[in-house]
């Protein structure tokens, strides 16, 4: 099955939720919709599902216009952020419910329910009620219900956002395996860059109801076309330093001087914004050409196996991602180092001018 959205707009009470959406999802493809909260991801999924009708434009399935066709007549399954299950039905009956309405025979229903429950590791909970399960198990049930009927379009709206981070870790890995075994078009929304990258496939970066960039997920990560895409597709947020380029040097921040070489060589003189991801700022010098940034520590945030050190370089706020758990004291002065080869360059309109070439980044970590 192929799904096409053509010139789709959605306005609600005079407010634009989606604008000029043109997308083409290939049969069997894995797709990520990446955007911040309220970017329009859920609105878009609901239109794909047939839960909402676009204000303008059309939805085509295998070339056929299905814009007004209700969700019941489409082959679609959806998983929501909240764990939505029937509270009075057992887990077994919850998973079986989409098959019951399709009139499938009981032996086949039983086989499918058990197979799907096993895949999601809830096969020993089938007699329980949803309220007796943990949040993670409830969401597994909701996912099982979406998977059991083999819909051609599988939509997942931030399915892991309400789980704690250990459960998220687990389910994220399992979902990868599950998607690989499916022939459906999978569309998965998230606010998290790492989740988007893990799912791979193709990405649609969306902001304020508009598509900012599309393409294979890793390509977009390595070449974010605008400052906005780089922001949405970096966690912690990408660091920006304003700079000015003359014939031979770029001057960044207050006192950072970088000779123009490598991908920076052909920059015309003028004003630019330089972007660098937090994992490319280091607390020690790795290469002779590394530029030094002096700053004051604002906070050390500890996240999983990393320390995010928030620093202030003369009122430019930057984040350094340090591997391991090494908090620094608030207010202490530190030097951080960056390799000019890992800088993204944006012009004054916020358009990407130069990006680091793959493999140019300093090894050594």
């Amino acid at each position: 099955m192929g799904l096409v959205l053509r010139n789709v707009d959605k306005t609600v009470g005079g407010e634009t939720h989606l604008k000029a959406i043109n997308l083409n999802f290939e049969p069997g493809s894995r797709n990520v919709l990446l955007g911040r909260t309220l970017a329009g991801k859920t609105s878009l999924l609901r239109i794909m599902a047939g839960l909402d009708r676009p204000s303008r434009g059309s939805v085509l399935i295998d070339g056929r216009d299905v814009t007004g066709v209700s969700v019941r007549k489409r082959s679609v399954a959806m998983v929501y952020q909240q764990f939505i299950n029937y509270p009075s039905l057992t887990i077994y009956k919850n998973i079986a419910s989409p098959l019951k309405v399709s009139g499938m025979n009981n032996a086949e229903i039983d086989r499918r329910v058990r197979e799907t429950a096993k895949m999601l590791h809830i096969d020993d909970l089938l007699d329980r009620l949803p309220a007796e399960l943990s949040g993670g198990q409830q969401q597994r049930t909701a996912i099982a219900r979406a998977l059991v009927k083999d819909a051609q379009l599988l939509l997942l709206d931030e399915p892991l956002v309400n789980l704690d981070y250990k459960l998220r870790e687990e389910l994220r890995t399992e979902l990868q395996d599950i998607f690989q075994r499916r022939e459906a078009i999978v569309v998965y929304t998230t606010t998290e860059p790492a989740e988007a990258l893990m799912l791979g496939g193709n990405i649609v970066v969306i902001d304020e109801g508009r598509i900012l960039q599309t393409g294979p997920t890793p390509d977009v990560y390595h070449n974010p076309a605008t400052l906005k895409v780089a922001e949405v597709f970096s966690d912690p947020p990408i660091n920006y330093l304003d700079g000015r380029v003359n014939d031979r040097y770029a001057f960044l921040g207050r006192d950072i001087k970088i000779p123009l070489s490598g991908h920076l060589r052909r920059l015309a003189p003028g004003d630019y914004t330089f972007g660098i991801r937090s994992n490319h700022l280091f607390l020690f010098r790795l290469n002779a050409e590394d530029a030094e940034i002096t700053a004051e520590v604002e906070l050390s945030e500890i996240n999983g196996s990393e320390t995010f050190i928030h620093i202030n370089h003369y009122d430019t706020f930057l984040v350094v991602q340090d591997v391991g758990i090494h908090p620094r004291k608030i207010g202490s002065r530190i030097s951080v180092f960056m390799n000019p080869a890992s800088l993204f360059v944006y012009d004054s309109s916020g358009t990407l001018i130069a990006s680091p070439s793959p493999g140019s980044l300093a090894a050594g970590r």
């Binding site: 704690d164 893990m198 994992n279 050390s300 500890i302």
Partner: protein, 364 residues
């Protein structure tokens, strides 16, 4: 501010508890030092809310005593304990101004108005609320409201401690770090005893100087964030702290070699010696970032199969199988990933041993 002592505390919600399984808190014997920034971290159901309620006085423990600066308060209700609490959702009077909200706890205690004024102004300044003092609380953002809740705790000079119960739940992700920073600043500046309860390791590890990890009604480890990461005392801490968690492999010991199925892994001599004396089922533990991954056979390298690669952008997580067991390794963003075979090395100084879930280590 006060030192808080939990003396042989245990709690059961059942009238006549029969065994350890009937206890929500098993045995807590611990002192919170005056002026410390502490976090109580654990998954839901671990007993942390029970413990918080015992500290604040909402709950009387079935066993043991609670002492504030040596004074027993075990049976006293919260209002007699001089405890301030900040909850998940801001608690304040929407129709009052920010100023009146901050002044409320003091006026309630009949403090003289000139002192109220100087305290309110001082606290507003610390929390960057000065420009908002005349505004009604109702119109403010969630993070400003939560700062007012915090301010209502800070404004009293007589509080023994401030307890936080998941205070950043309602705050937008990109604003959270501002509030985390604010809390740390306040702690540094005022040297208050702060106890922060959360299931979120980012918040616990960022906020606290000392983190207590709770698991199944017990405090399994108290340590700095770095200690918890580098030297987890318990397999639960190894799993819960760090992402992904520590790898654990059941093993047996022969001399200073750990045997995992048919594979030999050389351990540090001292660890092995202690391990030979330890009782219980042995497991080897290593953090994914410390596992060395090589693309070709190397001296001491153990061949493994690569099952999956997760590119997280700033790094990659490899899922490997070693003797049929899953092991995760973490690779830097720019390091090439071998095709389907790799060789891993367990650096002895980073490889831990656990017996029945507890870290094998020197006594004391």
């Amino acid at each position: 501010m006060a030192q808080i002592e939990l003396n042989e505390i245990a709690h059961s919600y059942i009238a006549n508890p029969k065994g350890p399984a009937d206890y929500a808190l098993k045995r807590i014997h611990h002192i919170w030092e005056d002026g410390g920034a502490y976090a109580l971290l654990g998954p839901s159901g671990c007993g942390k809310t029970t413990l918080l309620n015992i500290i604040s006085g909402l709950l009387t423990p079935s066993e043991g005593r609670v002492l504030y600066d040596g004074w027993e308060v075990t049976g006293l209700p919260p209002e007699k304990r001089n405890i301030a609490q900040v909850f998940q959702f801001p608690v304040l009077y929407d129709t009052m101004t920010v100023y009146d909200n901050l002044a409320f706890p003091l006026r309630n205690r009949k403090i003289a108005e000139n002192e109220v004024d100087s305290r309110v102004l001082e606290v507003a300044d610390i929390l960057d609320l000065t420009p908002d003092l005349k505004k009604k609380a109702a119109g403010l953002t969630a993070d400003a409201k939560q700062k007012i809740s915090l301010g209502r705790g800070l404004v009293r000079s007589d509080v023994a401690a401030i307890l936080f119960d998941e205070p950043l739940t309602v705050i937008d992700p990109h604003l959270k770090w501002h509030l985390r920073r604010k809390l740390k600043e306040i702690h540094d500046q005022l040297q208050l005893t702060l106890i922060y309860v959360t299931h979120d390791q980012v918040e616990a590890m960022t906020f606290a100087d000392k983190v207590m990890v709770m698991f199944e009604g017990e405090i399994v480890q108290v340590g700095t964030p770095e200690e918890l990461f580098e030297n987890p005392n318990h397999t639960f801490v190894g799993y819960f702290i760090g992402s992904p968690g520590m790898n654990f492999l059941p093993c047996t010991l022969v001399g200073n070699v750990a045997r995992v199925g048919g594979t030999s892994i050389i351990l540090d001599d001292e660890v092995a010696a202690l391990g030979r004396k330890a009782k219980g089922a042995l497991e080897l533990g290593i953090r994914p970032m410390y596992l060395e991954v090589h693309g070709r056979a190397v001296n001491g390298g153990i061949p493994v199969r690569i099952k999956a690669v997760e590119d997280q952008g700033t790094f990659k997580i490899l899922t490997l199988t070693l003797e049929g067991q899953v092991v995760r390794a973490r690779l830097p963003e720019d390091k090439a990933v071998p095709d389907d075979m790799a060789w891993v090395r367990f650096p002895p100084e980073r490889t831990k041993l656990f017996a029945d879930g507890r870290l094998v280590k020197r006594a004391g």
